[in-house]
């Protein structure tokens, strides 16, 4: 049966409800604007599924396996639900380092972009989301990293998280579906979940509406939403894909940046916690290399062990003593997002440089050093047939093992596919996210961040989104 078509009107349409979209919607609604938020995924109660579980993957992830094509390919994860990737990430929070703000401002000619301004926005976000440190002792998986770093004389810090703690010390992650989106709705915004945007409708240098399809109560509806202004906030992969599907190209989809991660499954002589993600990060080699911990449920431990070796039965039987850690780099290489008409998913490619491969090998060796120093007895690298290491003098074998065909990489941080700035030859949008050539079309998410920040990008995305939304409110 042909779907019915419904026409709606909104002053502002916000496409995407993650860190960028939720900030945009909440600020606009609080200012009294008529806002409609379109989210492709469902609205799922934040407590309905266990973090990092198979159920969460099924309910909240866009694809279970997805990868940026290249040699090596890089597996990546994106949220696809109300709240976007804030619903599935670790909740670690970091401000954008001031030296990067200044460097990006100069490199991309970004107007009114300075550390003080962004820090002021970050401060308000931190208050809203109760960004804080763990109130008590860290879990063993986190304390182990600190112990190893201390033993080696390396700097490490406990990252803050977007968690609100009760008096008993129980923390609840302050995802967008728990915080800013309900605020936006209370202020009058409409959130339409299960609503996939096909394309933007354009006329004479303006976007006049959004064509999308919504599934509700088992019915499929075609929607045409007429809008005065459109913010695209689908993240660094989906935002350029939507723009491409709408015939908007230019410097859109080029320059994608990620933090490639290489991992180790480390076996300890004692049990390690598996419920969350360690908050300790080794910063000794920052900003280009950082070392931290990953989700380590039993399924993830099994997959990580199998990356290195076929003989994992013994370690797998001992999975409660195994935890997964990563080394992440700021890559020199970059990628592309290409929205292809007729395909639901865009094609994503990424090219790592020889320098990146060398940094990954160095990261793996440093990660091995800190884990052995922390008391690990066996290290399984995410390298096909990579040697399992039990002593410091075995780590040297990994230098040659990390090759393009054997390294297994992944990322959860994707940025920079529609860079902002006044240098039109290198950016897809102006200093406040307005897409070049369109007076009422803005991008306001990770796509704008000019380069990989070397830290968890949620704080950066939210601060930039808040800044740009204030500018929009001042301009219109």
């Amino acid at each position: 049966m042909k779907p019915t078509t419904v026409t709606l009107d909104a002053d502002v349409v916000v496409i995407g409800s993650g860190a960028g979209g939720a900030v945009t919607a909440a600020k606009l609604a609080a200012a009294g604007r008529d806002v409609t938020v379109l989210e492709e995924g469902p609205w799922i109660d934040a407590d309905a599924v266990e973090p990092f579980s198979l159920e969460e993957m099924a309910a909240k992830y866009r694809h279970r396996p997805a990868a940026a094509l290249g040699t090596p390919s890089i597996a990546y994860a994106e949220g696809r639900c109300v709240g976007g990737s804030t619903e599935i990430n670790s909740g670690l929070y970091h401000r954008l380092p001031g030296h990067l703000v200044e460097s990006w401002r100069d490199e991309y000619s970004i107007d009114e972009f300075d550390p003080d301004t962004l820090d002021a926005y970050a401060h308000r976000i931190e208050e809203d989301l109760a960004v804080s440190r763990l109130p008590g002792a860290p879990p063993p998986s986190s304390a182990l990293l600190e112990r190893g770093a201390t033993k080696l004389g390396w700097r490490s810090v406990e990252y803050s998280r977007v968690f609100r703690y009760d008096t008993a010390g129980r923390g609840v992650k302050q995802t967008m579906s728990r915080t800013l989106l309900p605020q936006a709705v209370d202020a009058g915004a409409t959130v339409l979940p299960d609503c996939r945007v096909h394309r933007l409708l354009r006329r004479n240098g303006r976007v006049v509406g959004v064509r999308c399809q919504r599934t509700a109560d088992g019915r499929v509806e075609d929607l045409m939403i007429r809008a005065n202004h459109v913010f695209v906030c689908g993240g660094a992969v989906q935002t350029p894909a939507i723009l491409h599907r709408s015939g908007i190209r230019g410097r859109v989809g080029t320059g994608l940046k990620v933090h490639p991660m290489i991992k180790i499954a480390a076996r300890f002589p004692h049990p390690v916690d598996h419920g969350g993600v360690p908050m300790q990060v080794v910063t000794e080699f920052g900003p280009n290399l950082s070392i931290g911990g990953s989700a380590s449920r039993r399924g993830q431990v099994a997959m990580a062990l199998a990356e290195a070796s076929d003989n994992i039965e013994d370690a797998l039987a001992d999975w409660e003593r195994v935890s997964i850690y990563y080394a992440a780099i700021r890559a020199e290489g970059s990628g592309r997002v290409i929205g292809v008409p007729g395909l639901r998913a865009p094609i994503v490619t990424y090219r790592l440089t020889e320098g990146d491969m060398s940094r990954l090998a160095r990261g793996l060796v440093h990660l091995g050093e800190v884990l052995l120093a922390s008391g690990a007895t066996e290290l399984y690298p995410s390298v096909a047939d990579g040697p399992v290491v039990r002593r410091q003098d075995g780590l040297g074998a990994w230098w040659d093992a990390v090759t393009r065909s054997r390294a297994s990489l992944m990322t959860v941080h994707l940025t920079s596919s529609v860079r902002m700035g006044e240098d039109r030859a290198r950016t897809g949008a102006d200093s406040f996210g307005r897409v070049w050539g369109y007076e009422n079309l803005r991008v306001n998410d990770a796509s704008l961040v000019p380069d990989a920040p070397g830290v968890n990008p949620q704080g950066t995305i939210m601060a930039i989104a808040a800044r740009n939304t204030d500018q929009f409110l001042a301009d219109t």
Binding site: P65, T71, R297, A302, M303, A345, I347
Partner: protein, 108 residues
């Protein structure tokens, strides 16, 4: 899942699982493959058709025995050809994750 993917998955699933658990794991792998971006799924499907052509032919001649697939898949895991090795590793990682998250084995 295509026929050959189902055969490889059946080979990779732990023999200690009962029929219901095996079915749950297969369903998970099937859903995961379906949720892949189309171009990646098309690549995996093409590999499945290619790698499965000989077993399919053997099947048509009545000479296919699933037990012979196990050693072959084990060899492919260590293949020097990236495309072969990654094909098996993809399916194996999905199987492993499901086995250890879906079934009572996870609580063992």
């Amino acid at each position: 899942m295509l026929w050959f993917e189902r055969e490889v998955v059946a080979t990779l699933v732990s023999p200690t699982l009962d029929d219901r658990q095996r079915s749950d794991v297969e369903t998970y792998v099937d859903e995961s493959l379906r949720s892949m971006p189309e171009h990646l799924r098309a690549g995996v499907a093409a590999e499945s058709l290619l790698f499965g052509s000989l077993p399919r032919l053997q099947g048509l001649l009545g000479r296919y025995d699933r037990r012979s697939l196990g050693p072959r898949v084990a060899r492919w895991r260590a293949s020097r050809f990236d495309v072969v090795r990654q094909y098996v590793r993809l399916l194996h990682s999905l199987v492993l994750f499901a086995e250890h998250e879906l079934t009572p084995r996870a609580a063992r």
